[in-house]
C-alpha cells in the first residue's frame, strides 16, 4: 500500500525492555474494503501485565485488538497486512489455525454475551470444544477454578444449572471472563469490558483484571482514562488509525511526548 508507508507511527518501546515481550506487531495495516482503518502499527506488548489501548471513538482500537486473535477474519471485507507474532510465532501464517489461536488468545466483549445455556455450560463451552477435559470430574474442576478466578464462584455455586442470561450485567461479564479463562489462554483481550456496567461492577472487574495480570498478558480497550491509569502498566494512544504514542502508563499520563496525546488525555478532544 503506497500511503501506509508514509505514515510511520512513533513508538516508545522503553518500558517494554524491562518486561518480557509477549506480542509483537510489526507494520500492521488493516483495511475494511477500500478504507484503511489501521496504518502501519508496530509495537511490543509485554507479558504478565496490562496494556491499555486508548483513543477517540473510531480510531481503530477495536480493530487492532481483533487482529491479535484474527477475529477480523469473521468480517468479510476486513483484510490484515503485516506481521503479528505471539512468543515469536507468526499468527497470520497459513500454518496457524485460527480456532487454535483463539484458544490461546481469549476475548471479552463490550456487551456481556453469555450463550443461551446454563452457567456451567457457558464456562464448559471452551474446554468441551477444545477437548480439554476427558472426564466429567475434570470439567467440573475447570468450571470451578475458572469461576473462582473470575470472582463469580461464590455468587453462582448453587445455581450452575440456571441460564447464564439470567445473571446481572456485571455477573454476566465475569461469567464471560470465566468462560475465556476456562481454556487457559495466554492472552486475554478485553474490548471496553466495563462500559455496560455500573461503578461497583466496574470496580470488581478492575480488581479481577489486576489479579489476572499475574498469569496472563492482558490487553484492554477503554474509553475511561481513569481506568487506563488504574489498571494498566502500559498505555497505547491511537488516533485515526495511527499509533501515536506508546509507553508506560505513568509516562503517558504525566509526561506525554506528543501534543495529540496531551490534548486527548487533558480532554481537549475525543
Amino acid at each position: 500500500m503506497a500511503d501506509s508507508g508514509n505514515r510511520a507511527s512513533t513508538v516508545y518501546h522503553d518500558a517494554a525492555k524491562t518486561l518480557k515481550g509477549k506480542i509483537t506487531l510489526d507494520g500492521v495495516n488493516v483495511f475494511y474494503g477500500p478504507d484503511q482503518a489501521i496504518y502501519n502499527v508496530s509495537m511490543v506488548i509485554p507479558d504478565r501485565s496490562v496494556t491499555a489501548f486508548i483513543g477517540p471513538s473510531g480510531c481503530g482500537k477495536s480493530t487492532i485488538l481483533r487482529t491479535i486473535n484474527r477475529m477480523n477474519e469473521t468480517i468479510d471485507i476486513a483484510r490484515t497486512k503485516g506481521s503479528i507474532r505471539i512468543d515469536g510465532e507468526e499468527i497470520n501464517s497459513k500454518a496457524v489455525d485460527p480456532v487454535i489461536l483463539r484458544a490461546r488468545v481469549g476475548m471479552v466483549f463490550q456487551k456481556p454475551n453469555p450463550f443461551p445455556k446454563s452457567i456451567y455450560d457457558n464456562v464448559a463451552y471452551g474446554p468441551r470444544i477444545h477437548g480439554l477435559a476427558s472426564a466429567k470430574r475434570d470439567l467440573d474442576g475447570i468450571v470451578e477454578t475458572s469461576l473462582k478466578k473470575a470472582g463469580l464462584w461464590d455468587e453462582v455455586a448453587d445455581r450452575l444449572d440456571q441460564p447464564g442470561t439470567g445473571l446481572s450485567g456485571g455477573q454476566q461479564q465475569r461469567l464471560v471472563i470465566a468462560r475465556a479463562i476456562a481454556v487457559s489462554p495466554e492472552v486475554i483481550l478485553m474490548d471496553e469490558p466495563c462500559s455496560a456496567l455500573d461503578p461497583i461492577a466496574t470496580a470488581k472487574i478492575e480488581e479481577l483484571i489486576d489479579e489476572l495480570r499475574e498469569n496472563y498478558c492482558i490487553v484492554i480497550v477503554t474509553h475511561s482514562m481513569a481506568q487506563a491509569a488504574r489498571v494498566s502498566q502500559m498505555t497505547a494512544f491511537f488516533h485515526m488509525g495511527d499509533l501515536v504514542e506508546y509507553g508506560p502508563t505513568e509516562d503517558i499520563f504525566t509526561n506525554p511526548h506528543e501534543p495529540r496525546t496531551q490534548d486527548y488525555i487533558t480532554g481537549r478532544f475525543g
Partner: protein
C-alpha cells in the same frame, strides 16, 4: 351525466370550498380580535370540510345501498294499493266458494297422502280460475294496467315475486328481463317515476345536509375553538372504522362458519363423537325421500388422518431443507450468493399453487408410482399422499427458510463473536450457539409452515386423490379436509342438506386448528423477540 356523479362532483366542490371557508374565517377572526388561534387555521378548514362532507357522503352511501330496496318497497306498496279492491274481492269469493271450502276440509282431516295431493291440486285450480275470472271482469270494466299488474303480483307464489320485480326493474332501466308481460310492463313504468323521486330526493337531501353542515360548523369557528382536537378525533374514528371492518369481517366469517356448523350438527343429531371420531366418510345422502340406503356417514377421521399424513410428509421435506437453506444463507453464503439465492427462493413462494398441482400430478405422481412399482408395490397409484406431500413440502420451503433466516439473523452478532472468540468453528457455532438461541423462532416458523400446509387445497385436490381411505401407506391416495370441502361444495347443491353443511363443520375444525397453531407460533416468536430487546 348521471345524477349521482353530478352530485358527487358538486360535493367535492362544496368540500373544498368548506375548507377555505373555515380556514379564512379562522384567519379573519384571529386578525380582527388580534388573538392567537387555539388550532392552526388549516385545522379549522378541515373541521368545516369534514362536517360538510362526511354526513352528506354517508347519506349518499346509504342511498346507494338502500335506495333500490326502498324503491322496490314503494312499488310493492303501490301495486298492493292499486289492486286492493280486486284482492278483497278475491278473498271474499274464496271464503264463500264451496269447492275451496270442501278441499280445505279434506286437507285438514285426511291423513291419506293421495287424497291430500288431490285436494291440494283442486284448491290450486279453483283459485286460479277465480283469479282469472276477477281479472277478466276488471279488464272489461276498464281497470288500469297497474291494478291488473298488482293483482297478478299478489297471486304469484312468494318465491316468484322477486323474479317479477327484477324483470320489471330490468325493463325499466335498460336491463335484460327474462320475460316481458303486460303486468311487468305496467310495473316497469311505475318504477321509473318512483326511482327518479328517490334518486333526486336523496341527492337533494345530501346537498341540503352538506350545506347545513357547512353553515353549522362555520358558525363554530372561533379563536378559542379546539378544531385540532376535533379533527384528530375524526381521524382516529376513521382509523378505528377501518380496523373495525377487518375485525367485523373476520367475526362475520367465523360466525357464519359456526352457525352453519351448528346446523350440520343438528342434522346429524348432535352425534359430535361420530363426526370427530368416526372412521367412515361417505357424505352422499339420499336426495329423494324414497331412495334406499345412502344415509351418509360423517366420520371425519379419514380426512384428519389424510391431512395429517400429507402435512407430516410436507414438513419432513420443508423442515430440514428450509432450515438448512436458511443456515447456509445467513451463516455461510457470501453477500453475492445471498443476494441471488434469497430472491430466487422467495419466487418459489410466489408460484401459484395450481402450478404446483400440475407438477405433482404430471411429474412427481407418475415418477413415484414408477419407483414404487419398480421396488415391487404393484398397487401404486398416481395420486398418492406421498406425491402431494412432497410437492407441498417444496411449496412451503420458502416459508420455513425465510422465517428461519429472519430469526437466525436476529441472533445478536455478539453471540457469534463470543463463540468464534472461544475458538469455535463455524459449524460448532451454528450447532451450539446460534440454533439453540434461535430455536423458539424456528419452532414458530415450523408451526406457521404447518398451518399453511394444513390449509393448502389446490395441490391436494389435484395430487392426493379423493378416496377417503384410512391408511398409513403414503403410496395410497388419501383425502384431506380441504379437498372434501371443495368436493362437497362444488356443483349444484342446495345448502341445507347434511352433505353440504358438513363442509362448514370441516371448515370450522380446520379453522380452529390453524388458529391454534398460529396463536402458539406467534406466542413463541414473540417471547423469543423479547429476550434480545
Amino acid at each position: 351525466m348521471p345524477i349521482n356523479a353530478l352530485i358527487l362532483l358538486m360535493m367535492l366542490v362544496l368540500i373544498s370550498a368548506a375548507f377555505y371557508v373555515g380556514r379564512s374565517r379562522a384567519l379573519r377572526t384571529a386578525d380582527r380580535e388580534s388573538v392567537s388561534l387555539h388550532s392552526l387555521p388549516n385545522y379549522h378548514g378541515y373541521f368545516v370540510a369534514l362536517w360538510t362532507g362526511v354526513p352528506a357522503l354517508l347519506l349518499m352511501a346509504a342511498m346507494a345501498m338502500f335506495g333500490p330496496s326502498l324503491t322496490g318497497n314503494v312499488i310493492e306498496l303501490r301495486l298492493n294499493q292499486a289492486a286492493a279492491p280486486l284482492i278483497e274481492d278475491f278473498d271474499s269469493r274464496q271464503s264463500e266458494d264451496s269447492l275451496i271450502l270442501s278441499a280445505q276440509r279434506t286437507l285438514e282431516a285426511s291423513a291419506d297422502v293421495n287424497a291430500a295431493t288431490q285436494a291440494r291440486a283442486a284448491l290450486q285450480n279453483r283459485r286460479t280460475a277465480i283469479a282469472e275470472n276477477i281479472a277478466a271482469s276488471a279488464r272489461e270494466n276498464g281497470a288500469s294496467s297497474l291494478t291488473l299488474a298488482g293483482f297478478e303480483y299478489a297471486n304469484l307464489p312468494p318465491e316468484r315475486r322477486g323474479l317479477f320485480m327484477n324483470d320489471a326493474r330490468a325493463l325499466a332501466f335498460n336491463g335484460q328481463p327474462s320475460e316481458i308481460t303486460p303486468a311487468i310492463e305496467a310495473t316497469a313504468s311505475a318504477f321509473r317515476p318512483v326511482d327518479r323521486f328517490v334518486r333526486y330526493g336523496g341527492a337533494a337531501l345530501a346537498v341540503l345536509l352538506a350545506m347545513a353542515g357547512l353553515a353549522w360548523s362555520r358558525s363554530r369557528v372561533k379563536a378559542g375553538f379546539r378544531a385540532r382536537n376535533r379533527v384528530e378525533a375524526a381521524f382516529m374514528g376513521f382509523l378505528m372504522v377501518c380496523s373495525g371492518i377487518a375485525i367485523l369481517t373476520t367475526i362475520g366469517i367465523v360466525a357464519s362458519l359456526l352457525f352453519e356448523s351448528l346446523r350440520f350438527f343438528e342434522a346429524i343429531n348432535w352425534r359430535l363423537d361420530q363426526f370427530l371420531f368416526g372412521t367412515q366418510w361417505s357424505p352422499q345422502t339420499a336426495i329423494r325421500a324414497d331412495q334406499v340406503g345412502q344415509t351418509g356417514a360423517f366420520g371425519a377421521v379419514p380426512l384428519f388422518a389424510g391431512t395429517f399424513m400429507i402435512t407430516i410428509i410436507a414438513i419432513l421435506v420443508a423442515g430440514p431443507i428450509g432450515l438448512f437453506a436458511a443456515i447456509y444463507l445467513s451463516e455461510y453464503a457470501g453477500k453475492r450468493t445471498r443476494k441471488i439465492v434469497k430472491p430466487v427462493m422467495e419466487i418459489l413462494a410466489g408460484i401459484p399453487t395450481v402450478v404446483y398441482g400440475f407438477f405433482a400430478l404430471l411429474t412427481v405422481g407418475p415418477a413415484i408410482r414408477a419407483a414404487a412399482e419398480f421396488v415391487g408395490f404393484e398397487s401404486a397409484v398416481t395420486q398418492s399422499a406421498l406425491s402431494a406431500g412432497l410437492v407441498m413440502g417444496v411449496m412451503i420451503i420458502p416459508f420455513v427458510s425465510s422465517l428461519s433466516d429472519d430469526v437466525i439473523n436476529a441472533v445478536p452478532q455478539t453471540l457469534r463473536d463470543g463463540a468464534y472468540a472461544m475458538g469455535a468453528t463455524k459449524s460448532e457455532t451454528v450447532k451450539q450457539v446460534i440454533l439453540p438461541a434461535a430455536l423458539p423462532g424456528i419452532v414458530g416458523a415450523f408451526l406457521l409452515a404447518i398451518s399453511r400446509a394444513v390449509g393448502e387445497t389446490m395441490i391436494v385436490v389435484m395430487a392426493a386423490g379423493q378416496g377417503a381411505n384410512l391408511t398409513a401407506n403414503p403410496l395410497e391416495s388419501v383425502t384431506t379436509i380441504t379437498v372434501q370441502i371443495v368436493m362437497l361444495l362444488t356443483g349444484d347443491q342446495e345448502f341445507d342438506s347434511a352433505k353440504t353443511l358438513s363442509a362448514f363443520a370441516l371448515g370450522l375444525v380446520l379453522f380452529i386448528f390453524t388458529l391454534a397453531l398460529n396463536v402458539i407460533a406467534l406466542r413463541v416468536v414473540q417471547k423469543y423477540r423479547e429476550k434480545y430487546d
